[in-house]
Amino acid sequence: MLFNSYEFLFFFLPITLVGYFFLNRQRLTVASNSWLLFASLFFYGWWNIVYLPLILGSILFNYTIGSLIADTDALKKQVVSKKGIFVFGIVVNVLFLGYFKYMDFFIGNVNALVRTNLPLLHIVLPLGISFFTITQIAFLVDAYEGLVEERKLLNYALFVTFFPHLLAGPILHHKEMMPQFDRTRNKVLNYKNLSLGFFLFFVGLFKKIILADQFSVWAKAGFDTATTLNLLEAWVASLAYTFQLYFDFSGYSDMAIGVGLMFNIRLPINFNSPYKAVNIIDFWKRWHITLSNFITTYLYTPIVRSFRRITFAKSMVAIFIAMFISGLWHGAGWTFIIWGSLHGAALVVNHNWKKLKIRMPTVLAWFITFNFVNMAFVFFRAKNWHDAMKVFRGMFGLSGVTLPRSYAKLPFLADLHVKFSKEWLEAVKGDAHVDTVLWTTLVSFAIILTAWNSNQLTSRFKPCWKSFAFIVIVAFWALFNMSKVSEFLYFQF
């Protein structure tokens, strides 16, 4: 089920909320948590019931392994060591994800490399598998290191499946989640949280439906449909995707956090105005924050620790490897690996630059950072190398420059082989008017760079008439445009 669908908003969400707080009111805590678990599984199964056993299997498996590891006393009598069980658990998770996500990619590469003709398996990626697999890997690591205290199966299953975060994060940590499901204070309907939750939800819905879905049309036209892009078309296409991704994913995160709040469950923030970042290190502190934390904690640190003596050069290697893997985690394709590696390389450059202690003017630093991020996203979006190169050729003016006719009066432009035509944005604008494309892009850029982000809005939120009017406008604007249902970008990862 999607947040941006009528069945979620008018059927699933109200029923789940009412049921949850009704049961809590009767002091039936276990029943209310079970209700929430059932609702979450229903939410997941709505998409395709075939995959329900898969997530249940994964939960039971990891819960069992986690409990075995955490129960050190029981293990002393066992033949198998704690480490053995732990390694087995990790390997099974990696193979599980590997099979569903990377098998076809692997077969395709083998075919290309040794010229065989093995048939692809055409495996459909089960929703959220990348997310629920890595949260559970973290759980196993913590169990192995003795950090798992809370061990109720119901709370564990709820922590993994809780529907606001199940499909695309924020990536949660059991330590901050599981206790929340037991806290008595969280069991009572809290009007402040409820209003704040709806506020955030509608802000996110607006980002998704009004902004992201609009940009997606232009990005699709530029990246997928067009055969060649002139300079401006290529820039519009790449910016359209960069904006789409931000509004889509941060909108999704806002909605997730908002829905969590309605149940008095606090989910961690995931975005903090990433396009305001003035260097790449800064960018990763602001973009998909919960993933950055996960990568530093469970990927980067073990790599660094595995070196005997840690030097600067070795930590650079570790950063690069971590980002390379992060790229691969996003998707089974070389374009994702290139994207991850580019960011890895940029982080290395950034850390080396920091050592020089030379200050760069902030505007220039922002300019370089933003352009790097925007160009790296070309690989992230493009379906293949060919499409990425098409966009880059356009962005660097190698496929020609076409300007609107009104510029034809400027003689020096004609000397530079600039063409003039009424159709200067034809390849990206779809059905929209040229002015709509330009203004939406410019206004969105201004919003991204200057407006308060959702976290700032949240901290300033007061339940008053002004906020109420704001929510109503934003909500209706979004709801009336919710005719077509579009998936969130991060569902494919």
Binding site: H173, P302, I310, S315
Partner: protein, 78 residues
């Protein structure tokens, strides 16, 4: 020497800044050099000095000096 003082010494060394004065409230946001990369170097320096080991799942809570001191003292007592 108490934990806080020792920790202050480690911070000055790792971040190469003799002017650092730690308080319990100090967080990663207060020290420019304290990013996710130097955080790990810091953690490893602390581990070596106190002869303890942090679990991976504890690293995120260590971004605040007060909690770091508490956790170090808890681990030393063990």
């Amino acid at each position: 020497m108490d934990t806080m003082e020792t920790l202050n010494g480690i911070f000055r060394e790792v971040f190469d800044d003799p002017s650092i004065i730690l308080k319990r409230e100090t967080t990663a946001d207060d020290i420019d050099e304290w990013d996710s990369l130097s955080h790990i170097n810091l953690v490893i320096a602390v581990e070596t000095k106190f002869n303890i080991r942090f679990a991976l799942g504890e690293l995120q809570t260590l971004k605040n000096v007060g909690e770091m001191v508490d956790l170090i003292e808890k681990k030393i007592r063990k």
